[in-house]
């Protein structure tokens, strides 16, 4: 009886995705039609709350044509330990996060360090929709229609020096707004990092939206990283600092369990987590498991970054 029920639950079917898509297309075409008549569309209104439509979002050839998960699935099943370790707590707890005003300090080994206001940062580069697969290290996956811009657009603007070998990202530290930080589950604030060539890869984006709207808080508002060929925890949320450094940053999960979470954390079905297999994954909304692919299926695009690398050593 239980079986039949869970088989029935395909919330992606319950939530009318088509409505989202058609609505977005309608807004998109409306925006395009209006573009000639009125001022160029402003990405954010002053009320930059989740649910606000983002204007002028372009499609991208880097998107997958797989069926995206529903808005409900993407916004109610989250790992965001700053708001609690249960999957459903971020949706509830992140309501109290205030995302305006918000600044992102871009610093370190660069010629043009700057503290960016979030609304200025968002206007650096045209917004694109990127529909990506996301594979969590826990063995589940989703397809998510992000809105954002390539990370390289920011990096090239701040002019890294030859010493900038890595990029380090830091999440907001504020236990008042982020109740999960009141407990030492991780060494707060959350820190993640990429090698500079990984950060320059066209697939790596800074996301500010979801399903054509301003990013909900529980998904990492106001701005987060998305690196689709790596396990989800690499895609750090609610970023306040981006620092260019010479030495490999020590990330939050590396500090928590160095033998379990490596700096690279590329999706790889052949390299198991010490405690569980990574060979298969459950796509949220599906009943049976799928095979997991090397680099989460982005092998063609990113394999050249890792030529000759021993993935068992650099996991």
């Amino acid at each position: 009886m239980l079986i039949r029920k869970s088989n029935d639950i395909k919330s992606s079917e319950i939530t009318p995705r088509e409505i989202y898509l058609s609505r977005r297309n309608f807004f998109l075409s409306a925006a395009v039609a209006a573009a000639g008549l009125i001022v160029p569309p402003f990405p954010f209104s002053q009320e930059a709350h989740a649910g606000t439509k983002l204007a002028g979002v372009r499609k991208s050839s880097l998107s997958t044509d797989e069926k995206p998960n529903s808005f409900k699935e993407i916004t109610t099943y989250n790992n965001f330990y700053e708001f609690g370790t249960d999957k459903d707590s971020p949706a509830e707890q992140a309501k109290r996060l205030v995302t305006r005003p918000w600044t992102v300090s871009v610093e370190g080994e660069i010629r043009r360090p700057k503290v960016y206001d979030i609304d200025e940062l968002i206007k650096l580069s045209p917004l694109e929709e990127r529909i990506y697969r996301l594979r969590c290290v826990e063995g589940w996956s989703m397809v998510i229609p992000w809105v954002g811009f390539p990370l390289y657009a920011l990096i090239s603007r701040v002019e890294p020096t030859s010493k900038a070998k890595y990029v380090e990202f830091t999440t907001l530290l504020d236990p008042k707004q982020m109740p999960g930080q009141r407990r030492g589950v991780l060494d707060w604030p959350y820190v993640e990092g990429l090698r500079i060539d990984e950060a320059m890869h066209p697939l790596a984006i800074l996301a500010v939206g979801l399903y054509g709207e301003v990013l909900p808080n529980q998904n990492g508002a106001p701005i987060r990283l998305v690196v689709p060929w790596k396990y989800g925890f690499k895609s750090v949320k609610s970023i306040v600092r981006i620092r260019f450094v010479e030495r490999q940053p020590s990330t939050a999960w590396m500090k928590a369990a160095p033998h379990e979470y490596g700096f690279y954390s590329n999706v790889n079905p052949e390299v198991d987590h010490p405690r569980w297999s990574q060979a298969r994954e459950r796509r949220i909304g599906e009943f049976t498991k799928r095979k997991t692919f090397l680099f989460n299926g982005y092998r063609e695009q990113v394999a050249s970054l890792y030529q000759g690398m021993d993935f068992k050593k650099y996991f």
Binding site: K5, A256, R275, R280, F287
Partner: protein
């Protein structure tokens, strides 16, 4: 009356509530984005809870002197086995979908699954020998056999602890309660040893 029916029937209903609530949430589509995970977690949690409740019967009896409580222990223990079976079936069926090679690899390679699997296997002989006829037939050996439940309970907590990524608070709470329940037994058992009694006396009564 003699057989405690007035309390056994409502207790039976209460023990079925976790399953009923899970089934209701499934029926109404309230199991969230990953229903299989919720079913796995819930049945696993209730297995641990029923193991701990079962293990608290003896300390409670000693504490309150309400010896009739022992009449409830079999039902509680069987419910631990019942939820463990659901948990195990969920893993085999919904999670792995009978991929036997994958399951065998899990059991051999993943310590948390090895421990969980072993703990479940150890419960089977206990459930099988829970009938009154078996209790009579096994006599003193019945009690020895049923001490295996301590191993299962410890295994269950370890199984939980080893699967958690970073937040070990919940498994630790179960571990603490279990440690307390096991400590009760050690204390009462050691309390019957004369040398231990003497040692306690020496500790408590300051020597001149």
């Amino acid at each position: 009356m003699r057989s405690f029916t007035w309390i056994k029937i409502p207790l039976l209903a209460a023990c079925l509530l976790p399953l009923a609530s899970l089934a209701w949430d499934g029926y109404t589509g309230n199991l969230g984005a990953n229903p299989i995970e919720v079913i796995t977690r819930s049945t696993g949690t209730w297995t641990l809870v029923f193991l701990l409740i079962t293990l608290s019967v003896t300390p409670l009896r000693k504490l309150t002197g309400w010896n009739s409580l022992i009449k409830l222990r079999r039902m509680l223990g069987l419910f631990a086995f019942f939820y463990a079976s659901l948990h195990f079936t969920t893993y085999i069926w919904l999670d792995q979908f009978f991929e036997l090679a994958e399951i065998a690899q899990d059991v051999v390679k993943r310590p948390f699954i090895t421990v969980g699997f072993a703990s479940f296997i150890l419960l089977i002989p206990l459930a099988a020998t829970s009938t009154s006829a078996m209790i009579r037939r096994l006599g003193k050996r019945w009690q020895q056999l049923h001490r295996l439940v301590y191993v299962t309970a410890i295994g269950g907590v370890v199984h939980y602890l080893w699967l958690v990524k970073a937040d070990i608070r919940k498994p630790l709470i179960y571990g603490l309660i279990l440690a307390l329940l096991l400590a009760c037994r050690t204390v009462t058992r050691w309390g019957q040893i004369p040398a231990f009694k003497l040692a306690v006396k020496k500790l408590l009564v300051p020597s001149p």
